[in-house]
């Protein structure tokens, strides 16, 4: 634990941090534009099936720190003062010593085979939370518990249900993304070579990963409102003014995320800053009503942008144009981007991007409108999407006693792909690892070493932790790999069933993390960092840095992108007792007991005597106490 640095008379803690951090090597550190900066982007992309993919990204940077700084305390003075960075997040990071935080709320399913990969890295239905926590003082578990409970309160979600029975610590997946960005070496190195101990910077700080997901958590307005509150301009100005919950939640896919990580500000990664990325991803089905593929911003969101967020350094709308084959000029984009259309790649890999700088556009006009119209309202021929890796996981068998899990992973690439498979199975499904079998293109594989290079299995413990199966795979080119494993379903205690017992239990998704060559040229590739490329290209910074990076990677030839593929969540029905039966039993038992007990108690406790009337009179006159009075009452009852 560091000592608190002396309080200096500086306006912002962040500036102080910059000053302290910068002092020893002042000459080599690039000068930052501002200690805090906010960028907002909206990416729109028409998808092949008539849907429109929209991705809002709000990035807030705060302060800088040196190599061995981390967010454990006041040393960096990072969280002493807040301008743009939301205080609620800052305090959470500070008090639970969170190095990196990723929280995603998702509704609906991402259709990989139709839509390619999303720009936001997480797309599993429900809520996903993972964080790298500082383990200096071995308080990770308390901190994790505190973190889930606090976030639960902040986002009005049931995150507090991420308890020990759900939390896992993946060994290969979910490496820290911080310090992996366009500047530093790609995480591919860490990913393949030192995957277990892959704190891919030279820091010696002990960190621990905690991962948890709630597959059945519904996402709605009450989660969106606190999310919007984290933005500097809220939803009053800028692209965030498009966020209307009525439209957003009537989409085929909706995802909302908060990512916090540290990023490098220079090539050697001596200066770092903390980055908060908030994203909203929504896929609008524009062809739902009339079959027309035309769309406009006001049609999608029922709102329009009238001013850019004054606090934002950049405010852009980026349109990833559809790639049609054969026929030119099939569609018209109104208005035409003032800076023209950027093109990248050629032939099948050609990508065209139109960029609108709202700061400039809204300086002249009152509102920003954008629409895309197809000739004949439907595209004639759009380049088909063939995502590099598609996964499908499903239950086999029927009945409530046993079942099986089957996972199909298809590699559509023309080269071998390294991937990591992570599956968390709740403890009430008893996996039998000896039944684990692998099929490659329909044939059972004997030599599994070739395919499964590493395998971690954490057996479940009843009522305390889930089973975790994690594998480092080498997927052969153009292949279909299928895993199957059998399990028994546990007979739960009756109190462990949910109120909707007959619905069954949700089993969360499996996650496949893969390094894909950037040949498909999808916008989704590279996740958040790819968008950063656009941003930096605009800033004129990217050229030089890219060149340096390319030189570093000469031997690697192909640029690679790390993507995560999420499978659908599953529903498993466990043996369910007839819950009306206990009710019947309780009712009947109570009735019998009340009838029986009452009369028997009465019979046993009462004292029946036959007495003569005169005697009674005499007795009453002679003694006359409370005792006899009670008795007398009984007697009269009896005689009557």
């Amino acid at each position: 634990m560091r000592a608190s640095s002396p309080c200096l008379l500086l306006l912002s803690g962040a500036v102080l941090a910059l000053a302290v951090a910068a002092s020893p090597t002042r000459d080599t550190i690039p000068i930052l534009k501002a200690p805090e900066a906010f960028h907002e982007e909206l990416v729109l992309k028409p998808l092949n099936d008539g849907s429109v993919y929209s991705h809002f990204q709000f990035t807030t940077h705060i302060g800088t720190m040196m190599d061995d700084d981390h967010f454990d305390g006041a040393a960096s003075n990072l969280f002493k003062h807040y301008n743009l960075f939301p205080r609620s997040i800052g305090q959470i990071l500070h008090s639970f010593e969170v190095e990196e935080l990723h929280l995603t709320f998702t509704q609906g399913r991402w259709q990989y085979s139709d839509w390619g990969y999303p720009l936001a890295p997480s797309a599993g239905t429900g809520v996903e939370l993972w964080a790298w926590l500082n383990d200096d003082r071995r308080q990770t578990d308390e901190h994790w518990k505190g973190l889930t409970n606090t976030l639960s309160g902040l986002f009005c979600a049931s995150l507090n249900f991420i308890d020990d029975t759900i939390t896992t610590e993946p060994k290969l997946s979910f490496r820290n993304e911080g310090l992996y960005n366009t500047h530093s070496a790609p995480a591919a190195d860490a990913f393949t070579r030192n995957s277990i101990n892959s704190n891919n910077n030279n820091s010696s700080i002990p960190r621990k990963l905690r991962y948890g997901s709630l597959p059945h958590e519904n996402v709605c307005t009450e989660n969106l409102t606190p999310w919007i509150k984290l933005l500097p301009c809220k939803s009053k100005a800028g692209i965030a003014s498009l966020l209307k919950s009525h439209k957003l939640f009537d989409t085929r896919f909706y995802s909302m995320a908060v990512h916090v990580r540290s990023v490098c500000e220079d090539e050697q990664c001596r200066v770092k800053s903390l980055e908060l990325v908030q994203t909203i991803t929504a896929v609008f089905d524009v062809a739902r009503h009339d079959g027309s593929f035309d769309w406009s911003i006001s049609g999608l969101f029922e709102r329009e942008i009238t001013q850019s967020c004054p606090l934002a350094s950049t405010s852009k709308v980026i349109v990833n144009l559809p790639q049609t084959t054969q026929i030119e000029n099939q569609y018209s984009l109104v208005p035409h981007p003032p800076q023209g259309i950027h093109a990248e790649g050629s032939g099948d890999k050609r990508q065209e991007i139109a960029v609108y700088d709202l700061k400039k556009i809204l300086a002249n006009t009152t509102s920003f409108q954008l629409s895309l119209q197809w000739k004949g309202s439907r595209p004639q021929s759009v380049r088909a999407i063939s995502p590099g890796i598609v996964a499908h996981r499903y239950f086999t068998g029927f009945g409530q006693e046993r079942g099986g899990l089957a996972i199909e992973i298809r590699n559509n690439n023309s080269q071998d792909i390294e991937a990591i498979y992570l599956d968390t199975v709740p403890w009430y499904l008893k996996l039998y690892l000896h039944t684990f079998s692998i099929q490659l293109d329909g044939k059972t594989l004997d030599n599994q070493r070739e395919l499964v290079q590493k395998m971690f299995y954490q057996p479940a413990v009843d009522r305390s932790r889930p089973a975790v199966l994690e594998m480092a795979l080498k997927l052969p080119a153009n292949s279909l790999v299928k895993f199957t494993v059998s399990f028994d379903k546990v007979f739960l205690k009756y109190t462990e069933h949910r109120p909707d017992a007959n619905r069954g239990f949700d089993v969360g998704y499996a996650v496949i993390t893969a390094q894909l060559p950037r040949e498909q040229g999808q916008i989704g590739y590279g996740g958040l960092d790819h968008l950063r490329l656009y941003q930096e290209r605009e800033a004129g910074l990217v050229q030089g840095r890219r060149r340096i990076r390319d030189r570093n990677q000469e031997e690697e030839k192909l640029e690679e992108d790390k993507i995560r593929v999420y499978t659908d969540t599953l529903l498993v029905s466990l043996p369910t007792p007839d819950f009306s039966m206990p009710y019947n039993v309780i009712t009947m038992t109570c009735t019998v007991i009340s009838l029986f007990f009452g009369s028997v108690f009465n019979l046993m406790m009462r004292n029946f005597e036959v007495v003569k009337k005169e005697k009674k009179m005499a007795k009453k006159s002679s003694t006359g106490g409370d005792d006899t009075k009670g008795k007398g009452k009984d007697k009269t009852e009896k005689t009557e």
Binding site: Q107, H216, N502, V572
Partner: protein, 656 residues
């Protein structure tokens, strides 16, 4: 009382026990009568209740229906397409449908399957498409299915075009919480079965059965509606078919939901199966109609054949019913077209979509006397249990009496005091060897016939009828050998016992002078004699048959009530009443009746009743077993036939 008071306690107990035993047969006949009357009373109005929607989440007919005239036009356009491709080869029409579903915007695919039964080779291609409900997590799904061949062997054109039109309608909505899977299965039942197997990851790739793995999938199927709307015209009424494989039934709420919708949002005439009965006030006619409907249900359940493709879902714990469009020209009711059907189906799907949990509220065991009246398990279970108990009573009384020494009964009746009190161990020994051997031989024979019928056991390529003849031959060989062996054995024993008796008589003569109480010693001698000669083999065999029948009827009643009842009714009287007679002609008549009740006999009766060739009936049974896995053939071969064989042997055994 006078007689009883003079006897010791042990004697009194014995007499009481014997009294009960001797009354048991009568009691069991009374119970059979009670059971029969109870069963006949079930269709009566007073024994059934009105159905009601038990699962509150269903809210049938509460949602606004969006199926419009435009959708109706779309359905009619699809009808033309389906009609055009109906006569193309399987693969072509499947691919055409796949394209149509894809054009709507659904993920669609096809599935090949091959099924080689002992008599035929079936190959087909299924088409299926998944509507991914927007905003849902895809853990749950509903299925709408239609097979290319309708129940009446014509093309199911309206149903398939309805699936396409509904796909288009559903695509517009964002209010679905469950994915909807559209399945157009090839053939009749085999296509859907192949699809269901593959959906649950149980696909096989053997020579007999091969199912292609599914490419598109969704979550756990919660409920399914199977559509059967043959032809291209309008319909008079809507029929509900609900009996599944081996008498399994869907949750009654499935039927209640449709019922509720046809009374409100989509008014059509609704009936059970395809029975159209005019409304009547007449009590007797009403009763007879109810009885007939109930008998229909029990027939389907007992035979175990599903009345539609919905029956295949039930095995996977998916509640499903078939909706059948009844086209009966001349029937006096408002005819309805695809528009009405579309509204009905959309309302039904919206209602099922409301489900929060798997259907579990309403009844899974019921008899329907009308589409709006049901009889619950509490009312219909007692008669079959009573039948089972009557079997047990008969068996117990036979068992008890078989151990008695008949002479005691006589002496008690004479009121003699000096009779030797029968001690618990002074019983007639029961020789169980013959009975148990016969029974186990019968069961083995049953197993052999089953294998003769199902596998190509040295009868490759032969017709099923030849196999049946072979198995009947095996059975008759068993009967002949068992009966003749028993008779021969009886002869030997009899001759041996006459020798013994002669010897005993000679001994008695020698001892008579020294004996003081000749009479009592005579009695005690005869007691000893009786102890030596065990009860007749037929008694033991009959006891065994009756006990086994009780076991089987009561066990089956929990699995398939109708099968248990029909089996019980068939066998209860013959098995209880028949016994070998001193007159051979009576025994032979009994044996003949039992032969009529044997599986081949019943098959003949059925073929006569439906005026079909017996070989057709047999190949139908075989086909049902091989394709759908119904229990009819195994039950007949492993349970019913062995009992029947044993009974035939029993009546032909020697009396003594």
């Amino acid at each position: 009382m006078g007689l009883l008071s003079r006897l010791s306690k042990a004697q009194r107990q014995q007499i009481f026990g014997r009294f009960v035993l001797s009354w048991m047969p009568t009691l069991s006949y009374i119970m059979v009568a009670v059971s029969f009357f109870w069963l006949l009373a079930l269709p009566h109005q007073d024994y059934s209740k009105r159905t009601y929607v038990s699962e509150n989440a269903l809210l049938p007919g509460a949602a606004n229906v969006q199926f419009s005239w435009d959708d109706n036009l779309a359905a009619e356009a699809y009808r033309d397409i389906v009609q055009r491709i109906a006569y193309s080869p399987s693969i072509e029409r499947a691919q055409a449908l796949e394209r149509e579903f894809a054009a709507i915007g659904l993920k669609s695919a096809t599935q090949n399957y091959t099924l080689n039964t002992s008599t035929e080779s079936l190959h087909g291609v299924n088409t299926y498409a998944v509507f991914y409900a927007p905003r849902s997590d895809g853990t749950e799904a509903l299925v709408l299915s239609a097979s290319w061949l309708s129940k009446d062997k014509t093309f199911n054109i309206n149903a398939i075009s309805m699936l396409l039109a509904l796909g288009k309608t559903f695509k517009r909505g964002s209010h679905f919480s469950k994915d909807i899977i559209f399945v157009v299965s090839d053939g009749e039942a085999e296509g859907l079965q192949a699809w269901l197997k593959a959906y649950h990851g149980n696909e096989e790739h053997t020579h007999e059965r091969s199912e292609e793995t599914l490419k598109v999938r969704s979550g756990a199927i919660q409920a399914a509606l199977n559509l059967d709307f043959p032809g291209t015209g309008d319909y008079n009424a809507l029929g509900i078919f609900f009996e599944g494989v081996n008498g399994q039934l869907p949750n009654l709420d499935m039927i209640n939901t449709i019922n509720q919708i046809t009374m409100g949002i989509a008014p059509v005439e609704l009936t059970l199966h395809d029975e159209l009965v005019p409304y009547t006030d007449n009590m007797t006619k009403n009763y007879l109609n109810s009885l007939r409907r109930m008998l229909y249900q029990m027939k389907y359940q007992a035979v175990g054949t599903p009345t539609g493709n919905h029956g295949l879902y039930l095995k996977y714990k998916i509640d499903a019913i078939t909706l059948y469009g009844i086209d009966r020209p001349g029937w006096n009711s408002h005819r309805f077209n695809l528009f009405r059907v579309g509204a009905l189906l959309e309302a039904a799907v919206r209602s099922l979509n409301n489900l929060l949990e798997h259907l579990h509220q309403s009844f899974f065991f019921y008899l329907l006397s009308d589409v709006r009246r049901y009889t619950s398990i509490g009312l219909y279970m007692p008669p079959v249990i009573i039948l089972g108990v009557s079997f047990i009573f008969q068996a117990l009384s036979l068992w008890g009496l078989s151990g008695d020494l008949p002479i005691e009964l006589e002496s008690i009746a004479e009121g003699r005091k000096d009779i030797p009190v029968a001690l618990p161990y002074s019983r007639r020994s029961r020789n169980f060897k013959v009975a148990s051997t016969t029974m186990s031989m019968a069961i083995v024979t049953g197993a052999v016939t089953f294998h003769l019928l199902t596998t190509e056991f040295g009868l490759m390529g032969e017709t099923p009828m030849l196999k049946l003849v072979a198995s009947v031959g095996v059975c008759s060989m068993l009967v002949l050998s068992a009966v003749s062996a028993a008779h021969v054995r009886n002869q030997i024993i009899r001759s041996a016992s006459t020798v013994q008796k002669a010897r005993a008589a000679a001994e008695k003569k020698g001892n008579s002078s020294s004996s003081s109480n000749s009479n009592s010693s005579d009695k005690s001698h005869s007691v000893a004699d009786q102890e030596l000669t065990p009860a007749a083999d037929w008694i033991m065999l009959k006891t065994l048959i009756l006990a086994l029948s009780a076991l089987i009827v009561t066990t089956l009643s929990a699995l398939n009530f109708s099968l248990a009842v029909s089996m019980g009714i068939l066998i209860v009287l013959p098995y209880m009443a028949f016994r070998p007679s001193r007159w051979t002609i009576v025994s032979i008549a009994e044996a003949l009746i039992l032969l009529v009740l044997s599986p081949p006999g019943l098959m003949m009766v059925a073929s006569w009743w439906y005026s079909k060739d017996p070989s057709e009936v047999l190949s139908w049974v075989l086909r049902e077993y091989e394709i759908l896995g119904t229990w009819l053939l195994p039950t007949a071969c492993f349970i019913y036939w062995p009992l029947n064989l044993a009974a035939v042997i029993m009546v032909l055994l020697p009396v003594s």
